[in-house]
C-alpha cells in the first residue's frame, strides 16, 4: 500500500478551481517529484496534503488514515512535515529557537536536543549560526534551516516546496544532495519543483502537473527523455 495516496482531489480558492482531480501516490522510501510551471497547482497540492487547504472532493490518505479529517495542526503529528515555499523561517527567532519550534509536537527533551545536533551535522553552517536570528541568514542558510526544522518533528514524509527557489546554482546542488542524504536515512520525500532538471535527476519517480491536472507520470529517468517534458521544462 502506498504511504500517501491522493485520489481525484479537487481544491478551490473561493471560486478558483485550483486542483482538478489530482491523483498521485508516494511509496515508502521514495523521492517523488511534482514538476510544473507557475500556477499549475504544485503548491496547492502540498497545501491540500498538509491540511491548510481543504479539498471539496476526493480523498487524501496517509498510511490508511483519511487526512482530510484532520485539522492542519494535527497533520504534523501523523508524521508529515512541510518545508514551505519561500522558506517561512521565524525571522525574529534564533536558529536554535526555530529548530525547537519544529519539535513543537514532541515533548522528549533529550531526543529533541539529539535531533538538533543531527540537524547541525547535516548542515554545519547552522551550528555556526545557532544563536543568530533567522532573518539575518542568507537565502541558502534559510532553506537549510527550514529543512532542518521540518526534520525536527521526525517525519515519515517530508514535503518540500521549491527548495531551489532563489538560490545560487552551487547551493542548489548541495541542497539536492542533502535531499538525497535525508532520503537515505529513511525519510520519504515529496518534492515540488520548477527546476525540473534537478528534480528529475534527484527523484525516483515524477509527476507533471499542468493547470491543476496531472498530465504525465513515469519514472524520473523516463520523464527526462520524454519529448514533452524536454521541450516544456528542460528547454531542449
Amino acid at each position: 500500500m502506498a504511504m500517501l495516496e491522493l485520489e481525484n482531489v479537487h481544491s478551490y480558492y473561493g471560486n478558483i478551481h485550483a486542483l482538478k482531480g489530482i491523483s498521485l501516490t508516494v511509496d515508502e522510501g521514495e523521492i517523488v517529484t511534482l514538476i510544473g510551471a507557475n500556477g499549475a497547482g504544485k503548491s496547492s497540492t502540498l497545501r491540500t496534503i498538509s491540511g491548510i487547504l481543504h479539498p471539496k472532493r476526493g480523498s487524501v490518505k496517509f498510511e490508511g488514515k483519511n487526512l482530510t479529517e484532520y485539522p492542519a495542526h494535527q497533520v504534523v503529528g501523523l508524521g508529515i512535515s512541510q518545508v514551505p515555499e519561500g522558506r517561512g523561517v521565524f525571522a525574529r527567532l534564533t536558529v536554535r529557537e526555530n529548530l525547537e519550534m519544529g519539535a513543537f509536537v514532541r515533548t522528549d527533551k533529550e531526543g529533541i536536543n539529539e535531533d538538533i545536533e543531527k540537524g547541525f551535522a547535516l548542515f554545519p553552517r547552522l551550528k555556526e549560526r545557532q544563536n543568530q536570528v533567522a532573518g539575518t541568514l542568507s537565502g541558502g542558510e534559510q532553506q537549510m534551516l527550514a529543512m532542518a526544522r521540518a526534520l525536527m518533528a521526525r517525519p515519515k514524509l517530508l514535503l518540500l516546496d521549491e527548495p531551489s527557489m532563489g538560490l545560487a546554482p552551487i547551493l542548489v546542488d548541495s541542497i539536492f544532495q542533502t535531499i538525497v542524504d535525508i532520503n537515505k536515512t529513511g525519510t520519504t520525500i515529496l518534492l515540488v519543483e520548477q527546476n525540473a532538471l534537478m528534480a528529475l535527476q534527484t527523484a525516483h519517480r515524477g509527476y507533471v502537473i499542468q493547470t491543476g491536472e496531472i498530465v504525465l507520470s513515469d519514472s524520473a529517468v523516463a520523464l527526462q527523455s520524454n519529448e514533452m517534458v524536454q521541450s516544456a521544462y528542460l528547454g531542449h
Binding site: 495542526h73 497533520v75 521565524f90 532573518g135
Partner: protein
C-alpha cells in the same frame, strides 16, 4: 582629503534648527511662563534653563558634525551654531514691538522680552548677556562632545540629574523628609534639606553636590563595567554576584516596596497606584499584542467589563438607583467573578475574529471597545447599569478587617496584583503557550504546520489579556468607589498600547517602564498644565526617533532593529566624505 574641511553647511543647518527650537519654545510660552520657577534657586529659572539647554544641545550636535577630532573645528562649530540660534531669538525680541507680533503670537509678549533680556532697560541692553550665555552654553556643549566618551557620558548624566532634580525639587524634598521621618530623625532631615533645597528649586550647593556626585557615580559604574569586560575577555570565570549581595538586594527592594507609600506621601502614592493599574493592563495587552501579535485596539472593553461587574456586584446603591438587586458581595468575592466575566467576553470577542489579522483585527476590536462604552452609556441599559450617571457606592477591599481606602493603602493591593501579573506573564512567555504565541506572531501558516493549534492559541491570548484587564478594571472600580462610562473611552486603549510600545513591545520590564513614562510622567508634570501634553508629545517623538525598539526591548525586537547598526556606523563617515 575633503573630510578634513570645516562643515559650514551643518553649522548653518543645526544653528537654524536650534534657532527654530528657541523661537518655538518662546512662542508657545514655555519661556515666559516659568520665570518664577527656579531650577537652581535664584540662579537659574526654568525659563532660562529652556534657553541654555537648547543652545547646549545644539552646540553638542554641531560639534558632532564638524569636529573631525579637531578641537578648533568643534569649538568653532559650536559657537557659530549657538550664535546663529540666538540671533533668531534676538530678531524675535527686536521685531516684537514694531510688528506687534503679539496680535498673532499671544506669547510674544512684553513678559517674554523681559525674561530674555533679564529685565534690563532699555531692553536692547539685555541682549548682550543673553547672547553671552547662549554662546557660552553652546561652546560648553561643543567641548563636552570633545571629552573622552566615558567622561562625556558622566558630565551629561550630571547635567540631566541637576535639571531633573531641580525641576522636581518640591516633590523630592518631600520624599527626603518622609524618609527621615520614617527613620525618626527630623533634625537631620532639616539640615540635609537645607543643604540641597532652597525655598524654590535646588540650592546652589545642592546643585553642585548633585552634579559632582552623579559624575562620580557614572564614572565609577563605567570603570566597573570596563573591569568586568576585561575580566571576561581574559577568560576568567564568569563574574557572579555573591549570594549575600543578591539576598541583600532582594531584602532592600522588598523593604522599599513595603515602605514606598510612606516615603512617597499621598500625592506620589496616588500616581503610583494609577501607574500600577496601567501596568497591570499593560501586562495583559503585552500578551495579546507583544507575544501573540494580535493588534487589539479595544482593550478598554475588558477593563470596563471588569469594572462594571465589580460595581454591579458590590455597590450598596443597587436597587435604589437601578433595577438590579443589591447582592452586596465583598470585593474579594466579586473579584474572581469580575475576572471570569472579562475572560468570557475575551473569548466571545476572540471567536469571530479568529480568521482576522493585522489592520482588520484592529478595526474590529476598536469597534468592540466602542460598543461596550456606548452600551454602558445607553438609555437602553440605563435602568440596569445607570447610564451616564454610572454606579456609586462600590465596596472597598477589606483586608484582615482593615478597609483599604486611601491610595497609600490601596497601593499594596495594586502592586501585589501587578507583581502577580508580571509573574504569570513571565512564566507563560517561557511555556509552550508562549512559544506558540511567538510562532503564530511570526507566521500563522508555518506555525500551524509545526503543529500549533491556532484557535486554542489565539483564544488563550485573548482570554489571558482580558483577565488582566478585568482585574485592573475591578481594582479601578473599587479604588474610585464610583464608575462612569466616560472613564472607559478609546484613549485608555491607546494609552495602554502606547505604553507597551514605548517600553519595548513584548518586553516585561518594558511594560513597567512604559507605564511610568506614559502614565506617571504626565502626572508628575501636572504643574506644567497646558504644556504637559506638549512636552510629553515631544518626548514620545524623540523616543521613537532615537530608540524605536522601546526603552527596554525584548530580545527579538532589539535584534530586529539593531542588526545593521554596526554596518551603519561604519558606513557613516564614508557617506560624509563622498
Amino acid at each position: 582629503m575633503k573630510a578634513q574641511t570645516f562643515d559650514v553647511k551643518s553649522v548653518f543647518k543645526l544653528g537654524g534648527l536650534g534657532g527654530f527650537t528657541l523661537l518655538y519654545l518662546s512662542l508657545v510660552g514655555l519661556v515666559s511662563n516659568f520665570v518664577t520657577r527656579d531650577v537652581i534657586s535664584k540662579t537659574m529659572s526654568l525659563s532660562f534653563a529652556f534657553v541654555i539647554i537648547t543652545t547646549f544641545l545644539f552646540g553638542y550636535l554641531t560639534a558632532r558634525r564638524t569636529s573631525r577630532r579637531n578641537w578648533f573645528y568643534a569649538v568653532g562649530g559650536g559657537v557659530m551654531s549657538g550664535a546663529i540660534g540666538i540671533a533668531c531669538l534676538i530678531i524675535l525680541v527686536l521685531l516684537t514691538a514694531p510688528l506687534n507680533l503679539q496680535a498673532v503670537f499671544v506669547n510674544a509678549s512684553p513678559a517674554l522680552i523681559k525674561v530674555l533680556t533679564f529685565g534690563k532697560e532699555p531692553f536692547t541692553a539685555g541682549l548682550l548677556p543673553l547672547t553671552g550665555w547662549a554662546v557660552v552654553s553652546s561652546l560648553t556643549g561643543a567641548m563636552v562632545y570633545m571629552l573622552p566618551p566615558n567622561i562625556r557620558r558622566a558630565v551629561i548624566a550630571g547635567v540631566v540629574a541637576v535639571i531633573a532634580i531641580g525641576t522636581l525639587a518640591q516633590l523630592l524634598s518631600d520624599v527626603v523628609e518622609n524618609i527621615f521621618a520614617l527613620l525618626g530623625n527630623k533634625r537631620a532631615s532639616g539640615a540635609l534639606l537645607k543643604i540641597f533645597f532652597a525655598k524654590k528649586g535646588l540650592s546652589v550647593s545642592g546643585a553642585a553636590i548633585i552634579f559632582v556626585l552623579t559624575i562620580l557615580v557614572s564614572a565609577f559604574s563605567a570603570w566597573r563595567k570596563q573591569i568586568v569586560a576585561a575580566k571576561e575577555q581574559s577568560g576568567a570565570a564568569q563574574t557572579q554576584t555573591p549570594k549575600e549581595i543578591k539576598i541583600a538586594v532582594w531584602i532592600v527592594s522588598l523593604l522599599v516596596i513595603l515602605l514606598l507609600p510612606n516615603i512617597f506621601g499621598s500625592y506620589l502614592s496616588e500616581i503610583v497606584v494609577t501607574v500600577a493599574i496601567y501596568t497591570l493592563m499593560g501586562f495583559g495587552l503585552n500578551i495579546v499584542v507583544g507575544f501573540a501579535g494580535l493588534l487589539d485596539l479595544g482593550y478598554v472593553a475588558f477593563f470596563a467589563i471588569g469594572a462594571y461587574t465589580m460595581a454591579l456586584l458590590t455597590s450598596n446603591q443597587m436597587g435604589q438607583t437601578t433595577e438590579l438587586v443589591n447582592t452586596g458581595l465583598s470585593f474579594w468575592a466579586a473579584l474572581p467573578i469580575s475576572i471570569g466575566v472579562a475572560v468570557l467576553w475575551g473569548i466571545i470577542l476572540g471567536v469571530p475574529v479568529l480568521r482576522m489579522r493585522g489592520d482588520y483585527l484592529a478595526i474590529v476590536t476598536l469597534g468592540f471597545g466602542e460598543i461596550i462604552r456606548v452600551l454602558a452609556l445607553s438609555n437602553f441599559l440605563q435602568p440596569k447599569i445607570g447610564g451616564a450617571q454610572g454606579i456609586l457606592g462600590i465596596a472597598k477591599p477589606v483586608v484582615f478587617g482593615y478597609e483599604l481606602v486611601s491610595s497609600q493603602q490601596l497601593y499594596y493591593l495594586v502592586v501585589a496584583a501587578a507583581l502577580l501579573a508580571a509573574y504569570v506573564s513571565w512564566r507563560m512567555r517561557d511555556s509552550r503557550a508562549g512559544r506558540s504565541w511567538m510562532a503564530m506572531r511570526e507566521d500563522e501558516d508555518v506555525a500551524e504546520a509545526m503543529g500549533i493549534n491556532l484557535i486554542k492559541t489565539k483564544l488563550l491570548a485573548f482570554a489571558t489579556g482580558a483577565a488582566f484587564s478585568g482585574f485592573a478594571g475591578a481594582i479601578f472600580a473599587a479604588k474610585l468607589g464610583s464608575i462612569y462610562p466616560a472613564s472607559f473611552n478609546l484613549l485608555v486603549s491607546i494609552n495602554v498600547l502606547s505604553l507597551i510600545i514605548v517600553g519595548g513591545i513584548g518586553s516585561l520590564p518594558g511594560v513597567v517602564i512604559g507605564a511610568v513614562a506614559l502614565v506617571g510622567l504626565p502626572e508628575l508634570l501636572r504643574e506644567f498644565s497646558e504644556f504637559r501634553m506638549l512636552i510629553f508629545g515631544a518626548l514620545l517623538v524623540g523616543m521613537m526617533l532615537f530608540k524605536p525598539e522601546g526603552f527596554w526591548p525584548a530580545a527579538a525586537q532589539k535584534r530586529e532593529l539593531h542588526e545593521f547598526e554596526s554596518e551603519e556606523v561604519e558606513a557613516h563617515p564614508a557617506s560624509e566624505a563622498a
